[in-house]
Amino acid sequence: MSEKTKSLRSPLGVARGLGSAKSGFEHWQLERITALMLIPTAFYLLIGFLNHVVAGGYSGAMYWLQSPLSATFALLFLLAGLRHLTCGLQVVMEDYIPKERIRLPLLFVVKFVIAAMAILGSLSIAKIFFGV
């Protein structure tokens, strides 16, 4: 039972040895889950951006992001987007950088920078929302 709750892979697929031998499935799945989260949040942000930010200047942008719904969507978009970006960049690097001793440190740098961006973005959204 615990096996079942851990993964969405079918037992038959596992028994037949289908799919990734290592941790590829979780990576693949995470890329898709974040992609699904990005569809509604991206459209919401795009529409809000065009309606409030482009014409509204500083006060328009603040007013828009101080609504709880907008702040939630912005935070979801930020975090899902950066996680999706990490997944995608990792796949691209694995395709084009065969040398592991170059790829792994580079991947570490990418993940570190993206983590920093996630923190900066989250704190910014929080500061805008609470108006401090």
């Binding site: 065009l50 912005a74 950066l82 970006l85």
Partner: protein, 133 residues
């Protein structure tokens, strides 16, 4: 016992430039390139949030960069990559779910997606320049 023969260099599959570009391959590589390009888009988005959180003054500085010629070119690229990757990503998710996998459907969804992206891009930039729609 014979000496081990030296391994001959194995043939390698030819890379992108040798193939005739087709709608399917061009849309696929554009998806990847736009995704990588959105790294810069993510930096712009976070910079925008940080500038806004910093107050009216830092936001004005951000806007002066964004409204410069180079800033507008970057934002145009960002908006294209954003809309393209969003629309093409929906197409990829539909494939993952098992739909539109026949070659004729691949072309059909591609031919629906490209004009959709261009129309959305036009709407975004008309709105950005204050045209009421």
């Amino acid at each position: 016992m014979p000496a081990p023969t030296k391994m001959k260099a194995r043939p390698r599959s030819p890379h992108l430039q040798i193939y005739k570009p087709q709608l399917s391959s061009v849309l696929s590589i554009t998806h990847r390139v736009s995704g990588v390009g959105l790294t810069l888009g993510a930096v712009v988005f976070v910079a925008w949030l940080a500038a806004l959180a910093g107050g009216a003054e830092s936001y004005a500085t951000f806007l002066s960069y964004a409204q410069s010629f180079l800033g507008q070119i970057i934002l145009f690229g960002f908006s294209f990559a954003f809309l393209y990757h969003l629309c093409c990503g929906i197409r990829h998710l539909l494939w993952d779910a098992g739909y539109f996998l026949e070659i004729k459907d691949v072309y059909m969804t591609g031919k629906v997606m490209v004009p959709t992206v261009l129309v959305l891009l036009l709407i975004v930039w008309l709105k950005a320049y204050g045209v009421s729609l």
